[in-house]
Amino acid sequence: MLKLVFLGRLEDAAGAAEREIEAAETYDDVLAGLEPELAATLRDVRIRLALDGVLVGDPASLSLRDGQELAFLPPVSGG
């Protein structure tokens, strides 16, 4: 299993703040398993990724393992 976390407006796009999916090995595998519209939204280059709380430099380099948490972080709008 893989836990996906959708922050900010991505929560609306995903319909929930979190979602559990079957284990996947690569980032492309993750996106391929999602609704096409949501996958397209998540491909926005301004969206950062964090794996188990650590920011990811290049999504293509991700190698995912069972039980991990992948967070999608759109541009911030704080304070």
Partner: protein
Amino acid sequence: MITDVRLLCEPFDPAAELAAFSAGQTTAGGIVSFLGQVRSGGGVQALELRHYEPLTLPGMQKLAEKATRRWPLDALLIIHRSGLMHPGDPIVLVAAASRHRRDSFAAAEFAMDHLKSESWFWKRERAGGEWRWIEPREVDFEALQRWG
């Protein structure tokens, strides 16, 4: 150097926080504070800030370290709310104490500029009964560029 950085999911009392901070700063000549609160008027009924546990507080702590390395501060306080807020509620309180007032002013403004555009918060507002996610503002990115 005292650094007090907090991410709160409950309301806080900025006057009490600032009084406690100032009481400890008897060697500092000047204390600058910034208080940001939810604006009333303008039709906003509520505001919600979301954060991401593994990143938000650690990011605020790194920001505090940056500020304390850059200016000779006696103490720095950063309190930021997350969760649901209403008009008039405090969102953020930053306070900097230093021997010379210019350092306090600069450090507090630096912290605010970075909290606004680089910290891991996402904001939505409710107006007319509808929630709407807020996009980042260009002016906040411009504010950042002053600090190089």
